[in-house]
């Protein structure tokens, strides 16, 4: 089944996925694919929403997103599968400025909150609100890309922000902000997705990409200092911020499985209640359809 060969492989890189930055920096995948004559192209994703948009339009073959974002896209018919977990991050939380008087989720009622619709922080926000007995209609959610959300918060345009690293780590260190609500369980893992069509046609290459990602993951585990340096250079953030972001990432278990399915299922029920996912959708089944551990198992358990 190794006969089929793509002309090129297009991957995204994102500041919220340190592995992708390392991989791009060292060019391991290029090296690996050189003899096959397969080209490698990198595209920047500003957030999960962008990565999924690119996947949907076949602009990229592999995209890094939060699990819940991929799940949401899948529910709308996007032909993607999550095949690898690049980290278990606590990359999102609710942020406010010091002295804003907001100290709990309940305080958000009637407030302006920045978030990028369709991404993990957004879903995180919805779940937090849900937990506190609030709904989307009780607050005003301003749709901003992550980086714009960070500046909107620091310039007082919004009262709170559903943040994402590294922007969140940066404002935490550089500006007078605080994370007033954290919940690692509401983070839905950083997953690498593939276009279903690509996975069907070129399974061997999907494995090769996972192998390269594995290399990057191991390198980060071995060289946390240098990884932070790469992150700080690429994302133009200070070393401190980069270190903080890396600290909040757990690179230990790369194979997707039941844990992720469970996490997504509970996210799914909230999304369904909020009307973002269709009432008719079978959310539980959808989570199982999305998570596809075969490639990762094959590569890692080799």
């Amino acid at each position: 089944d190794g006969a089929a060969k793509p002309q090129s492989i297009k991957l995204d890189y994102a500041y919220y996925s340190p592995s992708s930055l390392v991989l791009k920096k060292f060019g391991w995948l290029e090296e690996d694919l050189k003899e096959d004559g397969v080209k490698v192209e990198y595209v920047l994703s500003q957030g999960s929403n962008k990565a999924l948009e690119f996947l949907n339009s076949s602009s990229i073959d592999f995209g890094s997103t939060a699990g819940a974002a991929a799940y949401l896209a899948k529910s709308k018919g996007a032909p993607v599968q999550s095949i690898y977990v690049y980290s278990k991050p606590e990359w999102t939380a609710l942020v406010t400025t010091k002295g804003s008087g907001i100290s709990s989720v309940e305080d958000l009622k009637g407030k302006k909150i920045a978030a990028t619709v369709g991404t993990d922080p957004y879903i995180f926000l919805l779940r937090a609100l849900d937990e506190a007995g609030l709904s989307q209609g009780d607050v005003e959610i301003v749709n901003l890309q992550h980086s714009d959300g960070a500046s909107a918060l620091t310039t007082g345009q919004v009262d709170a922000w559903a943040g994402l690293d590294p922007h969140m780590a940066r404002v935490e260190l550089e500006a007078d902000t605080e994370l007033f609500y954290r919940n690692p369980d509401f983070n839905t893992y950083g997953v690498l997705n593939v276009r279903s069509e690509f996975a069907e046609k070129y399974p061997a290459y999907a494995e090769k990409v996972i192998a390269a990602y594995e290399k990057a993951r191991e390198w980060i585990l071995d060289n946390p200092e240098e990884a932070a340096k790469i992150l700080s250079e690429e994302a133009q953030i200070s070393l401190e911020v980069a270190q903080k972001q890396l600290e909040r990432n757990d690179f230990s278990s790369p194979v997707p499985g039941d844990v992720q399915v469970k996490a997504l299922q509970s996210a799914g029920s909230v999304l369904k209640e909020d009307g973002i996912i269709n009432k008719e959708t079978d959310t539980d089944q959808l989570a199982e359809d999305l998570i596809f551990p075969d490639f990762a198992e094959k590569v890692i358990n080799k």
Binding site: N49, L52, E53, N56, L72, A73, K76, G77, A78, P79, K112, A114, T116, V117, G118, T119, E140, I141, V142, N143, L144, D148, G149, S151, A152, T155, G156, Q157, V158, I276
Partner: protein, 278 residues
Amino acid sequence: MSAKDSTVATPLKLKQRGRTGNGVKFTFPFLGWIVPAILILVWESFSRGGVFPPHLLPAPSYILKNIIQMASEGSLWGHVGITLYRLFFGFVIGTAAAVLLGAAVGYFQKAESLFDPLIQAFRSIPSLAWVPLFILWMGIGESSKVVLIAVGVFFPVYLNIVAGIQGVDRKLIEVGKIYHFSTLQIIRRIILPASLPSFLTGLRSGMGLGWMFVVAAELMGASSGIGYLLVYGQNTYSPELIISSIVLFAILGKITDSFLKTLESRTLHWQDTFVKKA
């Protein structure tokens, strides 16, 4: 756009190559519907037949259903209202600024030398490039949205006013001078009406750009408006919402444009051109 000497003139109604037969002219207002109707039918059947996958291009009937549903739920009106509100203020402010500056630059040599190079330099900045700076400086509130829209409206209106004024037939201006009109009178009674066609073209393209900047403005952090619906659709991977907002933009844009077009044909009935525009 300028004035012509007045002479005997019979209206030339037919456009086709010189035919002037003395028959009756048939108009086909429904002709305009043929092409769109065919397109929509093809789209619908292709969507139903599965040629267009629904996650890329849902069927028109589905989109219609979606719009109707939003309208009956009531959420639609809020979005439409806020978008129109932003457009209106942006348009008014942008047009007012363009009229003032354009009239000065078009008429006074000094004003032109002083301001035109600067305005032209600013004009050559694609206004979208302002978005990040606007967010940085003014935040994402209503004011920055309205200003952005005004900036978008400003340039086409300004450009057309200046071109219109500078294109006014010198002969007609001399008529005003001979009757000892003041500069203001010349502007009001000759330059304004003579450059009206150009001004109206400017207004129409200004309105078009205004709509574009509504989108840009609502992309830069909004929680309501049709542009917000568009981004929301984009971020939640809902092509039906994307296309619904596009259709809404098209309908609203069409309405504002036909309003301006009516104004145009009302005020320009004196033009002796190839064919009446109305």
